[in-house]
Each structure stands twice: as C-alpha cells, then as structure tokens.
C-alpha cells in the first residue's frame, strides 16, 4: 500500500482519508502479528543469552572466590554467616534445609511419578482375612500432577535462591575489597520498611496470586494434555495419563470419534464473538447517548435521572437477571400483559424459540444486557464528557457546526481516544461474561445440531458457559474444558495484541484541534 506523508494526507478528500485510514488499519494487522512473532523470537534469544551469561558468571565467581564463597556453593549462606551477615545466611541455610528435607521425603517421589502420572490404578486384590477380592486403590494421578507442579515451582524457587546466594557472596567480596561496610541483619530489616518496602507490600498479594492463580493455570494447562475426566478421575475408577496433543487435534480438526467437536466449537466461538461485539458496542454508544441526554443544558432533575439508573447497579445481578429472565418466561408478566392487551394471541416463547438459529433468545440476551450495562457506561461517559473543554463546542458552534457534526468531530473522537483501552477490556470481559448468559438463559434453547459432541449445547451458550457445562455434566470432560479454556486465552490474547499494536497508529490520527 502507498504510504502518504503528512502533507499528502492532508490534501486527500474526506472519503479518501477514511479509506486510507481503513486500509492502513488492515495492512497494519499482518505487521502487528509479524511483530508479535519477532518479539517471541527475540525473547527466546535474549533468554538463551541470559542463561549463558549467568552460567559463566557462576563459574567465574567460583574460580575467583575465596574459600568462604566456594563453601557457599554447597552450604548455602555459609559465606554470609562467615562474613557477619547472620540473618541473610540463616535464611539461605533454612531454604536449603527445607528444600532437601522436602525433596527427600516427598518431592522426589512426586517428580519421579510425574512422567507416568501413576502406575498402579485401582484394582481388586485377594484379601486373606475376608477371604474375598476387595478393591485396592493405588496411585492418585490428580495428586501426582498437583504435587508435581508444586515441586517444580519449588525447584525453580530453590535454584533462584541458590543463584542469589552465589551473587551475595560475589558482592560481599567486592564490598570488602573496596573497604565498604556490609549490611547487617538490622539494616536488612530496616530496609524492609524503607527502600525495599515494596517487597514487604508485595509479599502477601503475590503469594496469593502464585498459589491461587498461577499454579492452578499451569495445572490446568497440563490437564489439557491428559485424559482427565469423570471416568478417569485418577483415583477412584481409573488413572489418567498423558495424551500428547490429541485433545487439541480432536477439538480443531473436522474428524472426531463419531462426534464433531470442531463444528460445535466453531459455532460457539462465532456466537461468542458476535455477542461480545454487540454487548460491548450497544452498551457503549447507548450509554454515551444517555449520558449526553442527561448532561444536555436545560435538562432539569439531572440528579434524579442519574440516581434512578445508578441504583440498578447496586442490586446484585443474580436478582435482577433471574427476575428479568422470569418476567419474559412463557407464563411471565410480559406475556401476561401482552395477552391482556390483546396484542398477541398466544404467549411468545422468548427463551425457547429456536427459529433462525435461536435469533430471538440471542437478541433478547443482548437487549437485556443493554439494560444491565447502560447505567455503568452512563457513569463512565458522564465523567469523560464533563472533561471535554466547553469552548470546543462554543467555537464549533460559531463555525456553524450542527449537533451531529459536533458529535462526530468532538465528542466521539474524544471518547474513543480516552476509552480505547477500556473498550478492549470490556470486549474481552464480555467474551467471558458468564453471569448474564447463565442466569438469563442457562444457554438455552438447545442447539440440536451442535449438541452431542460434549453434552447439550444451546444457542446462547458462550465458550465460558460451555466450559462450565462440560465440567459439571455427567461425563465431566476436564481435559476438554482445559483445551477450551486455552482456546479462549488464545483468542483473547490475539485480539488484545492486534488491537494494542494497531491502536496507537489510529490514535495519533485522532487529533482534534
């Protein structure tokens, strides 16, 4: 595509400008994706170089170090203690003792089982006392995988601490050589509420994230490569084992064992994207519109209108969503009213109509999501609109701009400029909007064509509600749920990356004088 310079660009007509922007948006996408892969390549290259440098550094420290340093390679913290940094030294030593104790008593066992995820499954064995065959339980695949992951994290933490220990020795030697004083334990403690206060502050939050988010995610990613499900629960009925990439192949290719996962997946993914698009942009524009109406000069009772809308944010969603879903039920209030008025002859099945690929329920969830979302967007838009300098509007009015021109030339660019990142996060969180779908429809009505592959699938099911159904159904295909979860991640990550890489180029052009 031809690149214009600024001057050439300004000379283009309006429609040409628009086409140019559009074209540069789309031509930027391959470049953005290319950049992404280049970045990955660079990351691995840097990581490789980094590891090499570390190893060389460790080797040199050993070669040049004194006997205290050399002993520290085996007995962690020895150098620190010998040089008077008792607190640090003891922490290192404690880490080493705990690590060795853990690896000998448990960790080694779990690590050795990890490649097979258990050898002896539940089986029947002859029991001499009872003189009968009884069930005997063997290994527990779930625990092996869980503690295996835990042990791997611990090993990484230990290696890091060991490296820190070596580094400490090297630094201490340098310090002593140049005649500086080493920090004492008291200094270290004091620094934890001062220079290094961030370590104190982050300790608790990061531990929580590590244990309750990072490790579960690693675990679930690994589950995607096993056959963990209701019939292979790892202990009670059968072990589960590694399956390689076969789960991904089942989901992504058109051939399955008699069932068609990929068609189901494709259908749900399409609807998820459609839903996220409409849920995000209907709320965005209508919310902005409502905010503009309330903010308009001359409108009275601004506070009242705002309060009415804001109040609905306070009411827990499960109440409003469940209640509204029942309002539109076949025997609900809405149908009752319409029947009384004589506008319809028989009740409309708002949630059950499967005509046109479940068009009615699909539109309904989007409409009710507008009802849920507008108050929130109204708040956001109000805050931003009030920040737009009023003289922009004044001067544009003097120049003869009408309301529509003001909107497209001032309000909208300003809003988009400021809320660009918010739009992206709101799109991705709508993709994972479990509550609205599950509480309104539960995924209904059933999509007969897509069902069967993994339980029943409905027309309004998002990937996230499908994932929930998969794990709670009778078969509980956890491995499939993991694969779907990873797919959701991939979709979200790709969208975010592309938008982030493209956004700035659009932003720069959205300058408003």
């Amino acid at each position: 595509m031809k690149q214009y310079s600024d001057l050439e660009y300004l000379r283009l007509s309006k429609s040409q400008k628009f086409l140019y922007k559009l074209a540069s948006f789309f031509t930027a996408i391959p470049r953005a994706i290319g950049n992404f892969f280049l970045a990955i390549g660079r990351f691995f290259k840097n990581a490789g170089l980094g590891v090499g440098k570390e190893l060389a550094d460790i080797f040199l420290t050993f070669k040049d170090g004194d006997w205290k340093t050399k002993t520290s390679y085996l007995v962690m913290g020895f150098g620190s203690i010998a040089r008077g940094q008792v607190l640090r030294g003891l922490m290192f030593l404690l880490m080493e003792v705990v690590f060795i104790f853990y690896m000998v008593t448990a960790g080694g066992h779990w690590m050795s089982m990890l490649p097979s995820l258990g050898k002896i499954g539940p089986h029947e064995e002859y029991n001499e006392i009872l003189d009968a065959y009884t069930m005997v339980y063997g290994d527990n695949s779930f625990k092996i995988l869980l503690y295996g992951v835990l042990t791997m994290f611990f090993i990484v933490a230990f290696l890091y601490t060991w490296r820190l220990n070596v580094k400490q020795n090297q630094l201490a030697e340098e310090y002593l050589k140049s005649g500086r004083r080493l920090k004492t334990g008291a200094d270290d403690l004091r620094s934890l509420v001062d220079e290094q206060f961030y370590k104190t502050l982050l300790a608790l939050p990061l531990t929580g994230i590590l244990v309750f988010t990072v490790m579960p995610i690693v675990f679930m990613i690994l589950v995607a490569f096993t056959n963990y499900d209701g019939t292979h629960d790892g202990y009670n009925n059968a072990l589960f084992g590694w399956q390689g990439l076969s789960n991904f192949r089942t989901l992504l290719t058109w051939s399955g064992s008699g069932v068609n996962y990929s068609a189901t997946f494709g259908e749900i993914l399409t609807w998820t994207l459609i839903w996220a698009f409409f849920a995000t942009f209907t709320n965005y524009f209508l919310g902005m519109f409502v905010a503009m109406m309330i903010n308009k000069k001359g409108i009275k009772l601004k506070k009242l209108w705002r309060t009415v809308l804001v109040m609905t944010i306070a009411i827990p969603q499960f109440i409003s969503l469940l209640y509204v879903s029942k309002m539109f039920a076949k025997n609900g209030i809405v149908n009752g009213l319409l029947l009384d008025l004589g506008w319809i002859k028989q009740a409309i099945d708002f949630w059950g109509s499967t005509a046109h690929n479940g068009l009615l329920p699909r539109v309904m969830v989007i409409v009710i999501n507008i009802w849920i979302g507008i108050p929130y967007l109204m708040l956001i838009a109000t805050g931003i609109l009030m920040n737009i300098p009023a003289d922009l509007y004044e001067s544009s009015r003097i120049d003869g701009a009408n309301a529509w021109q003001q909107y497209t030339k001032i309000t909208l660019p300003y809003m988009l400029f400021i809320t660009g990142p918010y739009l992206l996060t709101s799109f991705t969180s709508n993709m994972n909007n479990f509550n609205v779908i599950y509480l309104l429809t539960g995924g209904a009505p059933t999509n007969a064509a897509a069902s069967g592959a993994a339980g029943s699938v409905g027309y309004t099911d998002l990937l996230i509600t499908w994932l929930f159904k998969i794990t709670t159904g009778a078969e509980a295909q956890y491995y499939l749920a993991s694969v779907v979860g990873i797919m959701v991640f991939v979709v979200v990550a790709v969208i975010s990356l592309v938008v982030y890489n493209v956004l700035p180029s659009i932003k720069n052009e959205e300058d408003f004088q």
């Binding site: 001062d194 939050p205 579960p216 209640y323 805050g383 990937l463």
Partner: protein, 289 residues
C-alpha cells in the same frame, strides 16, 4: 433587521424546547423501564394468594406470608454466610489491593514491568478454568460443602491483587513530590504510606471496600461449585437460584421475590450512601484504562 434576529432567536428557542421535550419523554420512559422490574419484585413479594408465577403484577391479596416463610427457611443461613463472606472479603481484599496498587504506582524495581505484563497475561485466562482444581484442593482441605464459607473467602481474596488497576490509577494522580518532601524530612517509605498517602487516598479506599463488599453478594459460579448442593454452605445467590428451578418454582417464586428484596435493600442503601466514591472510582478507572 432586529425582527429577523428575534425571529431566529425564537426559532432556536422553540427547537430547543422541542428537543428537550423529546429528551424528557425518553428519560421518563427509561426511568420506567429501569425501575419496573424492581417495582414488580417488591409487589410480588407481598402476594399471598398464590406462590407461583402469574401474568399480573398487583397482588389480589396482600400479606407478609412470604417474608415469614423466608424466616423459616434456610435463607437465614445463606444470608449470614454471604454477609460474613462479604465482610471478610471487604477487609482483606482492600488491604491486598491497596498494597499492590500503591507499590506498582510508587516503586520502580527491577521486575515491575515484567510483573505487570505477566498479570495482564494471567488475566486473559478465563477464571473458570482454575475452578476445577481449586475445588478439588478445597475439598481435600475440607473447605467445601458445609464449610464452604472459609474456602470461598480464601479463594476470593487470594487472587484479588490482580484487580489493582483502578486504585493504581488513583495513586498515580497523587503528586510524587509529597513523598519526596516527606522522605527528605526523614520519613521511611512505610511512614510515607501510613501518614501521607493513606489519608489522601480515602476515596479510593472507600471505593475498594465498597466493590469488595458488593462482589460476594452476586457471585454465583464458584459458590455453586464449592457448596455443591449442601444448603448450609450456600450463599444467597446459589440458594435462591435453586428456588427458580423447575422443581421448586411452583412453591418458591414469591419467596424468591421476598428474598430478593431483603438482599437488595441493605446493599442498595449502602451503595447509595457511598455513591460519590463509586462514581469517582469507575470514571477514573475507565479513563486510565
């Protein structure tokens, strides 16, 4: 000359009046649409002639029966569970979120950027994915079913550090020169936080407490997983969801309405009192992205 100007002025005024009238009509319609479900739910909670769903709104016979039935059901237990969870989460999550956001706003340490990017990526995994394993782990710890409350609190607060964006945006707006002045006067970093920043951060502290308190009232999925059909461990959302299922809706529909009113009233009052802070937080959060 003057006349035409005046005419034009009148014309403008008239068109403004017309557009304002249209806006008033739209706003009134909107207020009705937004309030009707809540008015209906209140009215139906007082209906005593039948307990199932009906096609009319105004009860034929009024009474407190549904509220009495609520008092005699497991609802009390669910309400207490949710309230305890909400209180604990409000306290602990606020501490964690503030620690996290203050640190990321004020300190520049080696892994800061990497950490923020890492958390951004973590956030792209659907939270539901981790439920399976968290459920199994909580089960092994004995923190499911009847003991679901401590288990839920643990899980809610553990990962709350990831939601630091809004309050970090707020801390970013407090000038750093304040910190530096205090540091010159000999205050430690910890003293800066307690004595200077926290008093200034009152709005965001209240916002964080408010959102943390309101979260557990609406949580449904994980609570459903963890209570696993045991009534004693349910929160209001899970318990009342059961009342609207096919097997119970005939007897429990009006009770659901009454329960909804009881749940919504305190939360709404609290929210309306602290509305100012909520609005500030939401607007600030969206602007900073």
């Amino acid at each position: 000359m003057n006349e035409t100007l005046e005419k034009r002025h009148m014309g403008l005024k008239a068109s403004a009046r017309i557009s304002n009238t249209i806006i008033y009509i739209v706003l009134i319609l909107m207020a009705v649409v937004w309030l009707i479900p809540f008015i209906c739910i209140v009215l139906q909670s007082f209906r005593v002639e039948s307990t199932w769903q009906v096609g009319y709104v105004i009860p034929q016979k009024w009474g407190w029966d549904n509220y009495v039935a609520l008092w005699n059901s497991d609802f009390k237990r669910w309400y207490l569970n949710t309230f305890v969870i909400a209180l604990c989460v409000a306290a602990l999550q606020t501490v964690i979120v503030l620690c996290m956001s203050y640190t990321l706003s004020r300190f520049r340490f080696k892994l800061r950027d990497g950490l923020m990017r890492f958390m951004l990526i973590l956030g792209m995994f659907p939270g539901m994915l981790t439920m399976i394993i968290l459920y199994r782990v909580l089960k092994d710890l004995g923190l499911t079913q009847a003991n679901a409350v401590p288990g839920l609190i643990l899980v809610y607060i553990a990962s709350s550090g990831m939601g630091y964006y809004v309050s970090k945006g707020f801390f970013d707006t407090i000038p750093k020169s304040l910190d530096e002045a205090a540091r010159v006067d000999g205050a430690t970093r910890a003293q800066v936080l307690y004595k200077i920043i926290l008093p200034l951060a009152k709005p965001i502290v209240i916002y964080t407490i408010l959102t943390a308190f309101m979260g557990p009232w609406g949580d449904f999925v994980f609570a459903k997983y963890v209570s696993f059909g045991t009534s004693a461990g349910m929160n209001v959302a899970v318990g009342m969801y059961g009342w609207l299922q096919l097997d119970q809706i005939g007897q429990k529909y009006t009770m659901f309405c009454a329960g909804g009113v009881i749940v919504a009233i305190p939360v709404t009052i609290l929210f309306m009192c602290l509305q100012k802070y909520y609005v500030e937080g939401v607007t600030g959060g969206a602007v900073k992205g």
